[in-house]
C-alpha cells in the first residue's frame, strides 16, 4: 500500500486535542506521523494531497445505517451504501440487522462482513438482539461477538418486554458491548405515521406521542439501575435516534447518575420539524418521526452539552415506487449518509455556533468510543489511516440525482449544505475524491 502525505491542512483531532496546521503521513494503512508543516519534507516517493484551507479530521463514523443486503438490494447494497458513506466523509459504518433474512446468526454476520460484498469503507455490524428480531429469545451474543458484532439491536422494532430487554442487557454487559434500543412503545403507536400534534390532526394522520419514546427510555434506564444493583454488572444501553425532549432529559439524568447510557441523534431530527411533512411528503416519513420545534431544540441542546454522544444518520434507503404511495402506507426512513456532514456544519456549526472540534468528535471519536471501535476515530499515530478532508466553508446544494446511494428518498434534495468533502481516506486508500 502506497503512502499518502496530506499537506497544509488544519488537523482537528478531538481525541488528542490537536487543532492546528499539520502535515499527516499515512503509511501501510496507519497514521504514521502528524507533524508541524514542513517537518515531513524528508519523506519521499509518495502520493501527496494538498489540503490547504481544508480541515483534516478522523474519518467519520456512522453507528446506524441500513444497507439492505442481503435481501433488498433493489434499495441499496453494501457496495452502494458504503460508496454513499465515502462520499459523505464516512470511513466506518455500522450496519443494522433488519435485512432479509434478519442478521441473527454467525453465518449471516460473516456473510455480511465478507470482503466479497465489496464495501468501500470499513464495515461493522450489529446483529439482532433476538432471533428474527421478534423480541422473544435473545441470540448467541458470545458467538456473534467473536464473529465481529459490535453490539446488539432489534432496530426498527423495540425490545419491548422487560424480561427480554433485561436478559439482553445482562448478556451484553458480560462481553462489554452495548444493547442498542429503538425506543418506541409500539403499544402506543399502532397506525401512526407522523408526530402527534396539530399538523397530524389537520392532515388526518394518527400521531406518535413523545410518551411512546420516553416510556421505553425510562424503562430501560430503570433496568440498567436494577441490573447494576442486583447483578453487579455494568450494562451499556445505547439509545438510537433520540427525538424527544423527554427522552433526552431522561438520558441526561441517567448520565449524571453514573449509568452507562449513550445515545445518538440523527441529522433530520436536529434540522427539521414535523412541519416539513407539508402535503404528505413521504420523504419526511421516518421512525421516530420529525417532532416539534421544542424537541428539535432539545436535540441541539443535547448535542451541545454532551448528553448526546454522537450523530448517526439512520440511513434508510427505499425505492421510489415504495415512497410513491399513500403516506400511511409508505415505508419509514430517509437516506442520510451524503447529507449528514453538510447539515451538521450548517445547523450545528454555522447555525448554533458549535465548534468544529466538538462537531467532529460527535461524528468520529465519540461514535468510535460508543461502539469500542479500536484504533478508529482518531488521527493519533498508530491509529488506522481513516481520514476525511473537507472544505469547512464551502456552500453547495445537495442534488439527489448525483447520489451514490441506489435510492432517492431524501427531503434534502436541493437543500443547502455547508462543508464539502474533498477526500475520504479509508485505511490509507482514497475511497472518495470530491471536486
Amino acid at each position: 500500500m502506497s503512502d499518502l502525505l496530506i499537506l497544509n491542512g488544519r488537523v482537528i483531532d478531538p481525541a488528542t486535542g490537536v487543532d492546528g496546521l499539520r502535515d499527516v503521513l499515512l503509511r501501510r494503512g496507519r497514521v504514521a506521523a502528524v507533524e508541524m508543516p514542513g517537518e515531513l519534507r524528508w519523506t519521499n516517493a509518495m502520493e501527496t494531497l494538498d489540503a490547504l484551507g481544508m480541515v483534516v479530521a478522523p474519518g467519520l463514523i456512522d453507528v446506524h445505517v441500513h444497507l439492505r443486503e442481503p435481501g433488498q438490494t433493489y434499495k441499496e447494497s453494501i457496495a452502494t451504501g458504503t460508496a454513499a458513506a465515502a462520499a459523505g466523509g464516512f470511513t466506518s459504518v455500522v450496519a443494522m440487522p433488519n435485512t432479509l433474512p434478519v442478521n441473527d446468526s454467525v453465518a449471516g454476520l460473516r456473510w455480511m462482513l465478507d470482503e466479497a460484498r465489496g464495501a468501500c469503507t470499513n464495515l461493522f455490524a450489529m446483529p439482532a438482539a433476538t432471533f428474527g428480531s421478534r423480541g422473544e429469545e435473545i441470540t448467541d451474543f458470545h458467538e456473534l461477538q467473536r464473529a465481529g458484532a459490535v453490539g446488539f439491536t432489534d432496530d426498527g422494532k423495540p425490545l419491548l418486554h422487560d424480561r427480554v430487554m433485561r436478559e439482553a442487557l445482562v448478556a451484553a454487559a458480560g462481553i462489554g458491548v452495548p444493547v442498542s434500543q429503538h425506543a418506541e412503545d409500539t403499544r402506543l403507536t399502532g397506525g401512526c405515521s407522523m408526530n402527534a400534534g396539530p399538523l397530524a390532526f389537520r392532515l388526518g394522520l394518527r400521531g406518535m406521542t413523545n410518551e411512546s419514546e420516553t416510556r421505553i427510555v425510562e424503562r430501560d434506564i430503570r433496568l440498567l439501575r436494577d441490573i447494576e444493583r442486583s447483578e453487579g454488572l455494568r450494562p451499556h444501553l445505547h439509545v438510537q435516534h433520540v427525538s424527544t425532549t423527554g427522552a433526552m432529559e431522561a438520558i441526561r439524568r441517567a448520565k449524571k447518575d453514573g449509568l452507562h447510557v449513550t445515545c445518538e441523534v440523527a441529522p433530520h431530527h436536529f434540522t427539521l420539524t414535523d412541519e416539513a411533512v407539508g402535503e404528505y411528503d413521504t420523504n419526511t416519513k421516518m421512525n421516530p418521526p420529525l417532532r416539534a420545534e421544542l424537541d428539535r431544540k432539545a436535540m441541539i441542546a443535547g448535542l451541545m452539552d454532551g448528553t448526546a454522544d454522537c450523530i448517526a444518520t439512520d440511513h434508510a434507503p427505499h425505492a421510489t415506487f415504495e415512497k410513491e404511495q399513500e403516506f400511511e402506507r409508505a415505508p419509514n426512513g430517509i437516506t442520510g449518509l451524503e447529507t449528514a456532514l453538510g447539515l451538521a456544519l450548517r445547523v450545528l456549526h454555522r447555525g448554533e455556533g458549535m465548534s468544529l472540534s466538538r462537531l467532529i468528535a460527535l461524528m468520529s471519536w465519540q461514535p468510535a468510543e460508543v461502539m469500542s471501535l479500536k484504533g478508529r476515530g482518531s488521527l493519533e499515530v498508530g491509529s488506522f489511516a481513516d481520514a476525511v478532508v473537507f472544505d469547512p466553508t464551502a456552500e453547495w446544494s445537495f442534488a439527489v440525482k448525483a447520489s451514490r446511494s441506489k435510492s432517492r428518498n431524501t427531503p434534502f434534495d436541493g437543500a443547502t449544505m455547508v462543508g464539502r468533502v474533498m477526500a475520504t481516506i479509508c485505511e490509507g486508500r482514497v475511497v472518495y475524491r470530491g471536486n
Binding site: 399538523l199 392532515l203 388526518g204 412541519e275 402535503e279 428539535r296 415506487f321 445547523v347 434534502f412 436541493g414
Partner: protein, 330 residues
C-alpha cells in the same frame, strides 16, 4: 426552523384537495357558478361538459357522494366511468399512481377520488397531473361536503344571499359540530372553511374523540365539552356519527355517549329550538341523533343532499375549465 422539505408542488388547476386552498373569492365563484348551473334548463346544462370524460375512483364505499358526483357529471353531459377497489386491478395490488395513470391514458380528464388513506388525493394529483377532486380521504378532508354544507346554511338561515359572500358573511353565526371529530373529514373541512367567512365553529365531543390539537384547524374554532352549553350558542348544529371502522381499538361506552352527546328531541327543545340541524350522513338514528330530530322541521339533511348535487356540478365545471369559469386558480 429551516424549511427544506414539504415544498408546495403544483397540482392541476381546478383540483380541489383541501378547503385550505380556497380563497373567499374562490368559494364565492363556486357558489355563484352553482346557482347559475342550477337555473339552467337541463338541455342547456347537458352541453356544458358534453364529450368530456370523468373517472370516479372509489376505494371506499359511498352512497351520497358517489351518486351525486356521478349524477352531476351526467347531467352536465360528461361520460363517467366508475372504478372501485372491489372490482378492478386495485384488488390485484395495482398502486394508486398506476391506477391514475391508466385512467388518464384512457382519456379521463378529471378524477374524483374517495380513499381510505389521508392525503391520497395529493399523490394522485401529483402523479397524473390532471385535476383531482377529493371526495373524502381518510380522516383528512371532504371539501365538496363543506361547500354543500355552506350552501345549505346560506339558503336555510334567514337573511343571506347565497351568491354574494365575503370574509364577514357568517359573522355572528355559530356552528356546533358534535360527535366523533377525531375521525371526521367532514368536521375538518367545515372547521377550516366556515371561519374563512367569519363563522364561529364550536367542536363538541368527548376527549377521546376530540383532542385539543383540533384547535389548530383554524382561529375560528373552539372546543366545548358540554353539549348543552354548546347548543345554547348554536344557530346550526351538525351531528356526526361515531366511525366504528376507524376506532382502532378505542372503546366508547355508547350508553354514556348517547346520554351526553345525542341530539335528542328534548335536548333540542331545551337548548336550541331554532337551530338548523345538519348531518353529512350516513346517520345512525338512535345513536348520535334522534329520528324525530332528523325528520323534524329544523332538519336540513335532505337539503344537504340536494345542494351536494348542485355544488358538485360547479366543481366539475371548474375542474374541467369549461364555460369561462373564472376563478379556476382561486
Amino acid at each position: 426552523m429551516t424549511h427544506d422539505a414539504g415544498k408546495i408542488s403544483g397540482y392541476a388547476a381546478g383540483s380541489l384537495l383541501t378547503v385550505r386552498d380556497l380563497s373567499v373569492s374562490g368559494v364565492s365563484a363556486i357558489l355563484s357558478e352553482t346557482t347559475r348551473i342550477e337555473r339552467m334548463v337541463s338541455a342547456e346544462r347537458a352541453k356544458m361538459l358534453a364529450g368530456r370524460r370523468i373517472a370516479l375512483l372509489f376505494y371506499e364505499s359511498s352512497t351520497r357522494t358517489r351518486t351525486s358526483f356521478e349524477l352531476a357529471a351526467k347531467s352536465l353531459g360528461a361520460t363517467t366511468t366508475l372504478v372501485s377497489d372491489k372490482s378492478s386491478s386495485i384488488e390485484k395490488g395495482e398502486s394508486l399512481k398506476d391506477t391514475g395513470l391508466t385512467l388518464r391514458a384512457l382519456g379521463a380528464e378529471c378524477i374524483i377520488l374517495r380513499h381510505a388513506h389521508s392525503g391520497a388525493p395529493y399523490l394522485l394529483a401529483k402523479s397524473t397531473g390532471i385535476p383531482v377532486l377529493n371526495a373524502g380521504d381518510g380522516m383528512h378532508e371532504h371539501p365538496s361536503q363543506a361547500l354543500l354544507d355552506l350552501r345549505t346554511m346560506l339558503t336555510r338561515l334567514p337573511g343571506f344571499d347565497v351568491d354574494t359572500i365575503h370574509e364577514t358573511t357568517l359573522k355572528g353565526v355559530t356552528i356546533v359540530i358534535a360527535g366523533d371529530i377525531l375521525h371526521s373529514r367532514v368536521a375538518r373541512s367545515n372547521a377550516m372553511l366556515l371561519p374563512k367567512l367569519g363563522a364561529r365553529v364550536i367542536l363538541c365531543g368527548p376527549r377521546e374523540l376530540l383532542p385539543e390539537e383540533a384547535l389548530g384547524l383554524s382561529e375560528g374554532v373552539e372546543i366545548e365539552r358540554n353539549f348543552d352549553t354548546a347548543l345554547r350558542r348554536a344557530q346550526v348544529v351538525m351531528m356526526l356519527r361515531i366511525q366504528q371502522e376507524r376506532l382502532a381499538g378505542l372503546e366508547i361506552n355508547l350508553a354514556d355517549y348517547i346520554s351526553r352527546y345525542q341530539l335528542s328531541n328534548e335536548r333540542m327543545l331545551a337548548q336550541a329550538p331554532e337551530a338548523l340541524v345538519m348531518h353529512p350522513g350516513p346517520m345512525i338514528r338512535g345513536l348520535e341523533i334522534d329520528g324525530d330530530v332528523a325528520d323534524g322541521p329544523n332538519s336540513a339533511i335532505e337539503d344537504q343532499v340536494r345542494h351536494g348535487l348542485a355544488v358538485r356540478m360547479a366543481l366539475l365545471v371548474r375542474a374541467l375549465g369549461a364555460s369561462g369559469f373564472e376563478s379556476i386558480a382561486a
